[in-house]
């Protein structure tokens, strides 16, 4: 059919054509070999790269890789998987070397552990009870004493409860404490653990019908293994069961002395108009006595309390918050809360701005309760020195008993204050850590200078 397309003088292949073909065949074979070697090399390189990217748990690396890379890890995270400091949401330290953290991973919280003072972190448990990560709004609070840990304040469970979870093996396994169903705050001194709980379920219809609720102090003397109610009929009656842990605060000073602050108190509130309640016990919760609450008017929306001793109290009052700012007042008491002195303030948002001759002595920026991630953002180390880390603000320090506050330039430059979740914690007057999700973890060993860890 296509004969007319043929070469009219067809060739007759001979030795020269055969030689040419054999040369080409030789080159083809050579290319094949080279290609095989290159492919093998690429496989080795890719394998090596994959090995580095996957970062096996056995390879101890500084926790300096970005949270983005950490989030890129899919599936269950093995115990020991390195955790970057930029993924830390909330840190606590048992001592100068051992610490635990809630770390963000793909919207969930995992428990991380450090044994070198925070330089490197490893996954301890990636299957925490639900409700403690970004997807739940970062509501979790936790505390560790040795290998005994306590986790609470998570998003309500399916049945509306807000339980306390307890571990006795350093976070590997958790069990629900038989108290509640709502647990608002916990403090552990050794194996002596206090938990503020309510029998009302704040997130269910039955709970609402049962109001007024009673706030109860539950105590464990065996690291959370068993519990008993201490306060009998309750230390405080509540108008409504608090919706979250942000509304109840336990400021524990010693094994027997503590203050409890709530913004939903009823009968025991010293100021019936404010809704705050502040009570004190000096006998391990057997009896409670009320104290006046200084927050009033536009500053009556949120409150936080901290103590450096039985009588030295710091009290923060907050207004409505907006745009990263919140009007605040700081009160001090040196008589155990009977009398209060306004020490510093920040006004201008929902409150009259300060006179030009008297500028704010507290930064207006940053949220405290009830808008803070947690209410433990005020660390009072002595009657003169304290650290405050409001949400959406940088870390602030006072060495003048709260009269003036200043930020740490290095931390501001590092990105603290950009609004990411984080916290500040101290284990002594000089040894502290501050973390911010996406920014990292910084440490001070002298209470003055801060340096980044894991970099």
């Amino acid at each position: 059919m296509f004969g007319h397309l043929d070469d009219p003088t067809p060739i007759s292949p001979g030795e020269s054509e055969l030689t040419g073909v054999l040369r080409r065949a030789q080159r083809i074979r050579l290319r094949r070999r080279v290609g095989t070697l290159v492919a093998a090399g690429l496989i080795v390189v890719a394998g090596g790269a994959g090995f580095l990217v996957s970062r096996p748990a056995a390879v101890p690396i500084p926790s300096s890789e970005t949270g983005y890379q950490f989030n890129a890890l899919k599936g269950p995270l093995r115990v020991g998987t390195p955790v970057p400091t930029t993924a830390l949401l909330n840190v606590v330290f048992v001592d100068a070397q051992v610490g635990f953290a809630l770390a963000g991973h793909r919207g969930e919280a995992v428990l991380a552990e450090t044994t070198d003072g925070g330089s490197t972190w490893q996954v301890r448990n990636d299957r925490l009870p639900p409700g403690y990560g970004q997807n739940a709004g970062y509501p979790g609070q936790f505390e560790f004493v040795g290998s005994d840990g306590y986790l609470w304040g998570g998003a309500p469970t399916a049945d509306g409860a807000a339980p306390l979870w307890v571990t006795s093996d350093g976070g590997i396994s958790w069990h629900e404490a038989p108290i509640g169903p709502a647990v608002y705050d916990v403090s552990a001194i050794g194996e002596n653990v206090w938990a503020l709980a309510s029998a009302c379920n704040p997130n269910s219809a039955t709970g609402a019908a049962a109001s007024p609720c009673v706030l109860v102090l539950e105590q464990s003397v065996d690291g959370g293994a068993s519990w008993s109610a201490v306060s009998g009929s309750g230390l405080m009656a509540l108008t409504n069961a608090p919706q979250s842990a942000q509304h109840v605060e336990l400021a524990r000073i010693t094994l027997s002395r503590a203050y409890v602050l709530t913004d939903t108190a009823d009968q025991l509130a010293s100021d019936p108009n404010s809704g705050f309640g502040l009570v004190y016990t000096g006998n391990a919760g057997q009896t409670w006595s009320t104290r006046p609450v200084p927050c009033a008017g536009p500053f009556g929306l949120g409150a936080e309390i901290a103590a450096s001793g039985t009588d030295d109290l710091w009290f923060l009052c907050g207004s409505q918050a907006s745009g990263g700012d919140q009007s605040k007042e700081l009160y001090r008491s040196s008589d155990g809360g009977f009398t209060w002195t306004l020490t510093a303030s920040a006004t201008g948002l929902g409150t009259p701005p300060p006179p030009a001759s008297e500028p704010n002595t507290l930064p207006l920026s940053g949220y405290i309760a009830p808008f803070s991630v947690g209410h433990k953002n005020l660390a009072v180390l002595s009657p003169s020195t304290a650290w405050l880390y409001p949400t959406r603000s940088s870390l602030l320090e006072t060495v003048s008993g709260g009269r003036s506050w200043f930020s740490v330039p290095d931390l501001v430059a590092a990105g603290f204050g950009a609004g990411s979740p984080g916290n500040v914690t101290f284990i002594s007057a000089t040894q502290g850590w501050v973390c911010s999700y996406g920014v990292g973890l910084w440490h001070t060993s002298d209470g003055v200078h801060w340096s980044a860890l894991g970099v």
Binding site: L5, P13, E17, L18, V21, A25, R27
Partner: protein, 196 residues
């Protein structure tokens, strides 16, 4: 099985010296590198590949180059082809030729020489390439093997792994499509294409 001269490790492809020109070197190359039975089949396969390529390309040099490349590839895998190499060589040669035709991006040089050097079937070859590329794969295989390579229907059936009847069917459909396309091209472009 005489794998000792196949494309496997036993074949001495490690010849690294120059093979250009010298008759002794050529002989050494042949002794070292000719797969078993390849030299006996070489001439027939070369003619086959050349014919297929020339029918598509219409250029002696290009067709020789395609034939050499097809045969070289065949030699490189001779142990797997030697039982029935014609179909494989035909496919490779036709594919190489079609690719080469499509890569002819440069416009044809101005016709300054005698008219006799111009390929009288230049347009038909171009239409053939286009038409072949439009055929379904099995029809194209059947047309190429049966009508471009002039293999028998039995051979084509063996190459395609189907019955002779299926070869006839694929071939007939392919030819019909091919003719229709060529006719359309002729009508569209005019007889000058065919007469060029």
């Amino acid at each position: 099985m005489s794998e000792s001269c196949g494309v496997g490790p036993d074949l001495v492809w490690g010849y690294g010296g120059s093979v250009g020109g010298g008759g002794n070197e050529d002989r050494a190359l042949r002794r070292a590198a000719i797969p078993d039975g390849f030299d006996q089949a070489f001439e027939g396969l070369y003619r086959l590949a050349y014919r297929v390529a020339y029918r598509i390309l219409g250029d002696r040099g290009d067709a020789e180059d395609v034939a050499q490349e097809a045969l070289a590839r065949a030699a490189a895998r001779w142990s797997r082809l030697k039982d029935r190499p014609e179909g494989w060589v035909t496919r490779v040669a036709s594919n190489l030729a079609i690719d080469r035709y499509r890569r002819r991006t440069r416009p044809a040089p101005p016709l300054t020489g005698p008219v006799g050097i111009v390929d009288p079937h230049l347009g038909e070859r171009g239409d053939l390439v286009v038409a072949l590329r439009r055929l379904p794969r099995r029809q194209r295989e059947a047309v190429v093997l049966r009508y471009l390579a002039d293999l028998s229907e039995v051979q084509v059936a063996l190459e395609m792994g189907c019955s002779v009847g299926a070869v006839k069917s694929h071939g007939a459909r392919g030819l019909t499509s091919l003719r229709r396309h060529l006719t359309e091209s002729r009508g569209k472009d005019g007889d000058d294409v065919w007469a060029s």
